[in-house]
């Protein structure tokens, strides 16, 4: 068995038992990264020396300790809007070029305490604002299944790194779909946990009432393993909650026997690529054959979700990004007085999409507009929450396509912001309602992956992941991009 073919759980068990060293795992990954990264460009920063030191420390640790580390020796990648002491953090922006955080995010500290080996920082749309990773100030990332297409975004670097076999698990952040949409486009599993489930201490804030960190992995099992490490109360994040953290890996041991799956027609209608709809519908029919019950449910406010999201998220972003003023960190433009220093620093440091959202957000919060825009959007948010609350009275989980379309060609939407925003049409509702949601590969159309999204009640990640395993079970077998052309290899 090749090291690269092992998932995170299998790798960790091999390192825990001593069957593999963390160093051997890292070197196999490093060789693969050197061959693959020049084409995929998933990373903004790689630090193999730091990773080698970590792997050596794991190998030299007493075996009774190593056996307790759930991610012993597992190579992970971190989205570059999550801060890491000793490595740069750019958020994909020129305004933070070369900046190094004086502290480490709680999620990264938790991964490392669990034995994971951080390889580097992954590419993203600037400040996580985008759906293709083309708005990175540094370079685009390509889809490992088709290098002419986008990997999705904003966590496109993390999803591409996992799909290309350059990391076993990666961290993403999800404000309106930024974990799930790239996971769908890259054929991997992406989980946005319940708002408050995972600490955001050290996540560069975009829209604070929506942002959540979560894992991207090759399988539901690996996502469950990572979530168990990431989840839990953090005194440094007042929005994290004391809800107990179940053993997610044990929870998914059994497939659900009689799960009730809500199917909202609003997510399967107009505007969806018929080929995508067919893959998702076929997966649902196969789940039904395995004992699931499909229940048609109404979600009447779905059509308003994108509009509400593109008022709330820019409003909160315009406030959160006020801190990038050239005084305390990052880039500073020379200017004769303080106001012009602010204005020029921000003009030269931010890219076009970030500027659009700052201006939109400033406008909707400005005097005379607040009630009509921001407050109205927050009221619509209540209606969207209500759609889910009613649904969860009769179903355990809601199933939708993750995206209305297949991964699109590079450059085809970057000049059309509204069209780019509509890529998020099926994912923003879970953020607006604070609910956990996961994208699972459901099949392929012409070699391009299609994701099925499951949305569950707050803090139902264990049940959600169990149903996600059923999706995985009924989905067609696939070979990963690095296994193409190899005899006998199978992804799972």
């Amino acid at each position: 068995m090749e090291i690269l073919d092992l998932g995170a759980r299998a790798l960790a068990e091999a390192v825990q038992s001593g069957a593999l060293s963390a160093t051997a795992v890292l070197e196999a990954y490093w060789a693969h990264i050197q061959a693959t990264e020049p084409q995929v460009r998933a990373f903004l920063h790689l630090d193999v020396e730091r990773a080698r030191a970590r792997a050596l420390a794991i190998d030299q640790a007493p075996s009774h300790l190593r056996r307790t580390w759930p991610l012993a020796g597992v190579p992970v990648a971190v989205k570059d809007n999550i801060v890491t002491e000793g490595m740069p953090t750019t958020a994909g922006s020129r305004i933070l070029e070369g900046w190094r955080s004086p502290y480490t995010a709680t999620v990264v500290a938790r991964l490392e305490a669990a034995g994971a080996v951080v390889l580097g920082k992954t590419n993203l749309d600037e400040f996580a604002m985008g759906s293709s990773t083309e708005y990175s100030a540094y370079h685009p990332t390509v889809n490992p299944w088709d290098p002419k297409r986008v990997p999705g975004g904003s966590s496109g670097g993390s999803a591409a790194a996992v799909a290309a076999g350059m990391a076993a698990v990666a961290l993403g952040s999800d404000t309106g779909g930024s974990i799930r949409q790239p996971a769908a486009y890259c054929g991997v599993v992406g989980l946005k946990p319940t708002y408050g489930r995972v600490s955001r201490y050290g996540l560069i804030a975009f829209a604070s009432s929506l942002d959540q960190i979560g894992p991207i992995a090759r399988s539901v099992e690996d996502a469950a393993l990572a979530l168990g490490v990431l989840a839990g109360l953090d005194p440094k994040d007042a929005t994290s909650v004391p809800e107990p953290v179940p053993d997610y890996v044990a929870a998914i041991d059994e497939l659900p026997s009689a799960v009730r799956i809500g199917v909202p027609e609003e997510y399967f209608g107009e505007g969806i690529d018929p080929a995508v709809r067919e893959v998702v519908s076929a997966a649902l029919r196969r789940m039904e054959a395995q004992g699931a019950t499909l229940v048609p449910i109404p979600m009447p406010h779905t059509a308003y979700a994108i509009a509400a999201y593109y008022l709330i998220a820019p409003a909160e972003a315009s406030s959160n990004l006020a801190r990038y003023d050239g005084i305390r960190f990052g880039f500073r433009a020379g200017a004769p007085d303080l106001v012009r220093l602010y204005e020029e620093t921000r003009a030269r440091g931010f890219g076009v999409e970030v500027k659009r959202r700052i201006l939109l957000g400033t406008h909707v919060l400005s005097a005379g507009y607040y009630d009509a825009y921001y407050l109205q959007a927050q009221r619509v948010r209540t209606l969207i929450r209500g759609d889910f609350e009613r649904a969860f009275q009769v179903v355990d989980v809601v199933a939708t396509p993750t995206t209305p379309d297949l991964p699109f060609p590079l450059g085809s939407r970057s000049e059309d912001p509204l069209r780019m925003y509509l890529s998020d049409v099926f994912t923003v509702t879970a953020n607006l309602a604070g609910l956990p949601a996961v994208s699972v590969p459901a099949g392929f159309v012409d070699g391009l992956p299609v994701g099925l999204q499951l949305i569950g009640p707050a803090f139902s990640e264990a049940e959600l992941l169990r149903t996600a395993r059923l999706v995985e079970r009924v989905a067609p077998r696939m070979r990963w991009p690095w296994q193409q052309g190899r005899e006998g290899a199978e992804a799972r």
């Binding site: 955080s101 004086p102 502290y103 319940t194 708002y195 408050g196 009432s209 005194p235 007042a238 929005t239 909650v241 059509a303 308003y304 509009a307 509400a308 593109y310 008022l311 315009s318 006020a322 003023d325 050239g326 005084i327 305390r328 960190f329 990052g330 880039f331 500073r332 200017a335 007085d337 303080l338 106001v339 220093l341 602010y342 204005e343 020029e344 921000r346 003009a347 076009v352 659009r356 201006l359 939109l360 400033t362 406008h363 400005s366 825009y373 407050l375 109205q376 959007a377 927050q378 009221r379 619509v380 948010r381 209606l383 929450r385 912001p417 509204l418 953020n431 607006l432 604070g434 609910l435």
Partner: protein, 105 residues
Amino acid sequence: MGFSEADVYYVARLARLAVSREEVARLVGDLNRVLDYVAKLQSLPTETVAPTFHGVERASAMREDVPEPSLQPAAVVAEAPAARDGMFVVPRILEDDTGREGGEG
């Protein structure tokens, strides 16, 4: 919903963001398209609907008031664009009648 060039300059000023003439021409079009799209929300009756400000409503988190070590000032200013003696250096914001050169804050 008409959003004019003057509106863009006004909002850019509020956001402390310098914008060029070329950028403004493009931003007017982009922002108007988005504002036209989000106008669909106005048709929903919401008089009786309370706003949601957070996805998961929880009481404010409280903790014991115990001092803990925080980041060292030297580590914080080390990444600043300009710093001296553990402090951020900024352009002068008050007029100084001694005629000294500006540049310290």
